[in-house]
C-alpha cells in the first residue's frame, strides 16, 4: 500500500469541524485484511477491500484518500459488515482539490467494525494470451492460455484474491508497475479446421497482374464446445501465437492473430498467414441487358443485366485445401445458375465453400440477374 490510505478520527462534540483538519490528525491506519480484485469486466476493475475500524461511540470520521491512485471517485462505496443495523454511514463529504473523501460513521458504542470499501480502479487489468501448437496435418491443436496481470494503477497490492468470470479465485500479490504472466489453462488435442478465404471484394481478381504473389488468408477455426474439450466458458479475446512441430523435433512459428471473444458454442478463427500456394482468378465473362423499360421521354428507367462470373482456383499444394469464397453482390440480384452450392450471407454477399484437390484446379461459374433502376 503506497498511496492509498485510510484514517479514522473519532469526533467528540465539535472539536473537528472540517474534513481537512480531520485528515491532519490521523489517529489510526487500519491495514487491509482481505482484498478482492475482480477482473470479470472487460474494461474496468473492481476492488473490494475489507478493513477493521476502531470506532468510538458517536460520530467517527473516516478519511479515505487516493493521491496518485487511479480511482473513480464516483464508484467508491462503503459497506458495514458486522453491525449493519446499528453502525450507520451518515454522510460523505469531499474536500476541495484533493483526491479524498470523508465518511461520517455513527457507532452506538466503542467497537471494532469490519467494513468493505469497493471502488473502480483503472490502469489495473488482465489480458489473456494464447500459445498453440498444431500437428503436421493441421487438424489438432494444443492450446495454452496465459493470464497476464498488469498493474499501473498507482497502488500496490501485496496480497489479493483475484476473481475472474470463470476459473477458481487465486491469491497473488501485484505491485504498482508490475506485470505478471501465469498459465491460465491448457488443453491438448483440440480439433481444428484449416480454412482458406478469398474475398472478391478485397483481393485482386487477376493475381498474375500484381507485382507480388497474392496471398490467400489462412485461418484455423476452433469450436468452443464440450465435444472439443472446451465449452465450459467463453474464451476471452487476446493475442494468439501459433507454432508447429517440424521434422527435427523443433518448431516453427506459423503466425499470430488477435483472437476474438468466443462465447460457448461459437468458433474462434485465427488468421495465421497468407498462402501463396493457392491462386484464385476471377473474371466477369458476360454482361447483357434485358427487360428494358422506358419512360414517356424514351429514357430507360429499368433494365435487367444478366451477368456471369467465372472463378478459377488452382491449388499448388500437395494437400487438398478447404476454400471459402466471398462474392460481393450489388443492388437487387437473383442467382439464376451456379455450378456450386452457394450460401446467401446477406443482401450484399454470397459465399461458396469447396475443397480444391491437391495439385488440382476447380472452377466456379455463377450467373445472376441484377435489376437496375434509373430514377
Amino acid at each position: 500500500m503506497k498511496n492509498l490510505y485510510i484514517a479514522v478520527l473519532f469526533m467528540s462534540g465539535l472539536l473537528i469541524t472540517t474534513p481537512a483538519s480531520a485528515r491532519t490528525k490521523l489517529v489510526a491506519l487500519p491495514d487491509r485484511e482481505n482484498t478482492f480484485i475482480r477482473l470479470d469486466h472487460p474494461d474496468i476493475t473492481l476492488i473490494e477491500e475489507e478493513r477493521t475500524l476502531s470506532l468510538h461511540k458517536g460520530i467517527n470520521k473516516v478519511d479515505f484518500s487516493w493521491k496518485g491512485v487511479h480511482i473513480d471517485p464516483d464508484s467508491i462505496r462503503l459497506a458495514v459488515l458486522q453491525h449493519p443495523d446499528s453502525t450507520k454511514l451518515i454522510n460523505v463529504s469531499y474536500p476541495p482539490n484533493e483526491q479524498a473523501l470523508v465518511w461520517e460513521i455513527f457507532s452506538p458504542e466503542n467497537r471494532q467494525e469490519k467494513i468493505r470499501i469497493s471502488y473502480l480502479l483503472s490502469n489495473i487489468d488482465r489480458v489473456i494470451t494464447y500459445e498453440a501448437k498444431t500437428n503436421h496435418q493441421e487438424n489438432k491443436l494444443d492450446l495454452s492460455s496465459y493470464l497476464v496481470l498488469r498493474n499501473f494503477s498507482g497502488e500496490s497490492f501485496t496480497s489479493a484474491i483475484f476473481q475472474l468470470d470463470y476459473g477458481k479465485d487465486f491469491e497473488k500479490g501485484i505491485l504498482d508497475g508490475e506485470t505478471r504472466r501465469m498459465l491460465f489453462f491448457d488443453v491438448a488435442n483440440l480439433n481444428i479446421r484449416k480454412v482458406f478465404t478469398f474475398n472478391a471484394g478485397i483481393h485482386p481478381w487477376e493475381p498474375q497482374k500484381q507485382d507480388h504473389t497474392v496471398g490467400i488468408p489462412v485461418s484455423y477455426e476452433l469450436e468452443n464446445i464440450k465435444g472439443n474439450q472446451l465449452g465450459q466458458h467463453a474464451l476471452w479475446g487476446g493475442k494468439a501465437r501459433i507454432f508447429q512441430n517440424d521434422a527435427n523435433k523443433s518448431t516453427i512459428f506459423l503466425g499470430e492473430d488477435m483472437a476474438g471473444f468466443t462465447p460457448v458454442g461459437q468458433k474462434m478463427a485465427l488468421h495465421i498467414g497468407d498462402s501463396r500456394d493457392l491462386s484464385v482468378t476471377q473474371h466477369k465473362i458476360t454482361e447483357e441487358r434485358s427487360n428494358i423499360r422506358r419512360n414517356r421521354n424514351d429514357h430507360i428507367v429499368l433494365y435487367d443485366s444478366n451477368e456471369e462470373i467465372r472463378i478459377e482456383i488452382e491449388n499448388f499444394k500437395d494437400t487438398p485445401a478447404d476454400l471459402k469464397i466471398i462474392e460481393p453482390m450489388q443492388g437487387e440480384w437473383e442467382i439464376r445458375k451456379s455450378s456450386h452450392d452457394f450460401k446467401h450471407i446477406h443482401s450484399g454477399e454470397i459465399g461458396f465453400e469447396l475443397t480444391v484437390p491437391a495439385k488440382g484446379k476447380s472452377t466456379i461459374m455463377y450467373n445472376y440477374i441484377r435489376q437496375n433502376i434509373r430514377g
Binding site: R181, K239, F253, G273, H283, E314
Partner: protein, 449 residues
C-alpha cells in the same frame, strides 16, 4: 540472445522483490546449442537455445534480461524437453521500475542438472533469396543458381548457430522491434494491445538492413564453402535448414548456395498490353517450377534474379537484366519480366473508323450508334531466335463484337467481358500482321444486344 540470463537458485523466500533478485545472481550457464529460424516476410527470427540449468527441488527463480537487445520479452518461454511434467514454468514476473528484466518462477521435481530450451523472438536478422540465371546462346535453356543470403543486424553475435530460413507470408500483429522497445512488455492498461502494422514498414526496414549489409555480404560470400540446404514444407511455409552451424557476427551477412540447375527449358515471350505496360512490348522469359523443367522440388522464394546470356563458345556473357521475382509455388509458371524490348515491336494501328446505325430520341438528338473500327496489329521480330507473342486488347466496355480476319496466325481467345488475347509464334527475323474488325455499341445501341 539473452545476454543477461542469470539463473538464480533460491529457496522459496530468498527473492521477494526484483531488487533482491539482482543481488542473488549466480553464474550464467553457457548455451549448449542455438538455433535460428529466420523469416523473410517479416523482421522476425525465432531463436531456440538449449542450456543446462541446475535446479533444486521446489521453487526456483531465474532472472533474465534483454536490455539492449531486440528481443520480444513476451515471447520468451522455457521448456524442459522430456521433463515437461517435472519442470514447469509457473510464472513470469516483470517487476516494477526495472526495464529489460524479468523473473521466472520454475517449479522442479528434479534436483540437479536439467536440460532446457528457451525460445524467443528477436528482430534484426533477415534473409533473402537471390538467383543468377544464364541463358544459352539460343535462349532455349537457362542455368539457374539459387542462393540464400542471411544478414545480421540484431546487435548480437551468433556463433555456431544452427540456421534455418522460412519462406512464407506470416501474419503478425506487432513488429518485434516495437515489442523489444516497450518499457512494459505487455503494455499498460488502456493502450491498444497491438499497433496494426502498416504494409510498408517491415519492407522498408529490410531495405535499410540490406543497404547496411551489402558490402560485408559480398566480402564473406567470396570465402564461403558450399553447404547443403535441407528443405521441408510445413503448413503454408517452406523451411530451409542449412547444414551444420554458422557464425554470423552482428553487422555481417552470408550467402549460401541453395540449388543449381543446369539446363532449364525456357520460352522467350513478348507481351503487349497497353493498360498494363503502356505502348512498349514487354520481354519475358518463361519456365515452370515443375519436374519437366528440372525444378519443382521446392517453391522459389521471391528475390532478385540477375540474368546473363552466353554469347560465345568460350562462355563470354552478356547481361540481360534483373528482375524482382515473385514467390513461385511448385507447379506454377515463372514469368521473368525484363521490361521493354527493343528488338521486338508490336504496334496496333487503327486503320479506319466509321459510325452507323444511329438511333434518335424524341428531340431528334442522337441517342445511340455503332462505332466500327478496323485494326491491324503489326508484329516484328528483329531477333535471331524464334519468339512467342501475346497481345491483349482491353476494350473497357462489355458492348462490342469482334471479327477476326481469317488469315490471322495463332490463337484468339476471349479472356473476360472486355479483354481478348492473341497468342502466336514468330520465326527469327520475320514479321506478321493480325487484323480484326470491331464494333463498339454506343448509347442506345448497347440495349440492342
Amino acid at each position: 540472445m539473452l545476454k543477461l540470463l542469470y539463473p538464480v537458485f533460491t529457496g522459496l523466500m530468498i527473492i521477494s522483490t526484483a531488487v533482491q533478485a539482482k543481488i542473488d545472481l549466480v553464474t550464467l550457464p553457457s548455451r549448449d546449442k542455438t538455433q535460428l529460424t529466420i523469416y523473410n516476410s517479416a523482421d522476425l527470427t525465432l531463436v531456440r537455445e538449449q542450456r543446462t540449468l541446475t535446479l533444486k527441488k521446489g521453487l526456483n527463480r531465474l532472472e533474465f534480461g534483454w536490455e539492449n537487445t531486440l528481443i520480444d520479452p513476451t515471447s520468451v518461454h522455457l521448456y524442459a524437453p522430456g521433463n515437461e511434467s517435472k519442470v514447469r514454468l509457473l510464472e513470469v514476473n516483470f517487476p516494477a521500475n526495472i526495464t529489460g528484466s524479468a523473473i521466472w518462477s520454475i517449479e522442479s521435481d528434479i534436483d540437479g542438472l536439467v536440460p532446457v530450451e528457451i525460445t524467443f523472438f528477436t528482430s534484426g536478422l533477415s534473409w533473402q533469396a537471390f538467383y543468377m540465371g544464364t541463358l544459352s546462346k539460343d535462349e532455349q535453356h537457362m542455368q539457374l543458381d539459387g542462393y540464400v543470403t542471411i544478414r545480421n543486424h540484431s546487435g548480437e553475435d551468433y556463433e555456431n548457430a544452427s540456421t534455418r530460413v522460412i519462406v512464407g507470408k506470416i501474419h503478425l500483429l506487432d513488429e518485434i522491434m516495437a515489442l523489444a522497445g516497450r518499457d512494459s512488455p505487455y503494455n499498460r492498461p488502456g493502450t491498444p494491445q497491438y499497433r496494426p502494422l502498416t504494409k510498408d514498414e517491415p519492407a522498408l526496414k529490410m531495405e535499410a538492413y540490406r543497404a547496411m549489409g551489402m558490402a560485408e555480404d559480398m566480402a564473406v560470400a567470396a570465402s564461403m564453402a558450399p553447404k547443403a540446404i535441407v528443405k521441408e514444407g510445413l503448413s503454408e511455409y517452406f523451411l530451409y535448414s542449412i547444414e551444420g552451424t554458422e557464425n554470423i557476427p552482428d553487422g555481417w551477412g552470408k550467402r549460401l548456395p541453395s540449388f543449381s540447375v543446369a539446363k532449364i527449358p525456357v520460352k522467350n515471350m513478348y507481351r503487349y498490353e497497353e493498360e498494363r505496360y503502356g505502348k512498349s512490348t514487354q520481354r519475358l522469359v518463361i519456365f515452370n517450377n515443375d519436374d519437366a523443367h528440372l525444378l519443382g522440388k521446392e517453391p522459389l522464394p521471391d528475390g532478385n534474379i540477375k540474368v546473363f546470356k552466353q554469347v560465345s563458345k568460350d562462355f563470354q556473357l552478356a547481361y540481360v537484366g534483373h528482375v524482382n521475382s515473385k514467390y513461385i509455388p511448385i507447379g506454377q509458371e515463372v514469368e521473368m519480366d525484363f521490361g521493354a524490348a527493343r528488338d521486338v515491336k508490336i504496334e496496333p494501328v487503327l486503320m479506319s473508323e466509321k459510325t452507323d446505325n444511329y438511333r434518335f430520341n424524341r428531340n431528334s438528338n442522337v441517342s445511340g450508334f455503332d462505332r466500327n473500327q478496323q485494326w491491324e496489329i503489326k508484329l516484328e521480330n528483329n531477333r535471331d531466335v524464334p519468339i512467342r507473342i501475346e497481345v491483349l486488347r482491353n476494350f473497357n466496355t462489355p458492348h462490342w463484337k469482334i471479327k477476326n480476319q481469317s488469315g490471322n496466325k495463332g490463337k484468339f481467345e476471349k479472356v473476360d467481358i472486355d479483354t481478348v488475347k492473341y497468342t502466336l509464334e514468330i520465326p527469327a527475323y520475320s514479321n506478321t500482321t493480325l487484323s480484326y474488325a470491331i464494333t463498339f455499341f454506343e448509347g442506345e445501341r448497347q440495349n440492342v444486344n
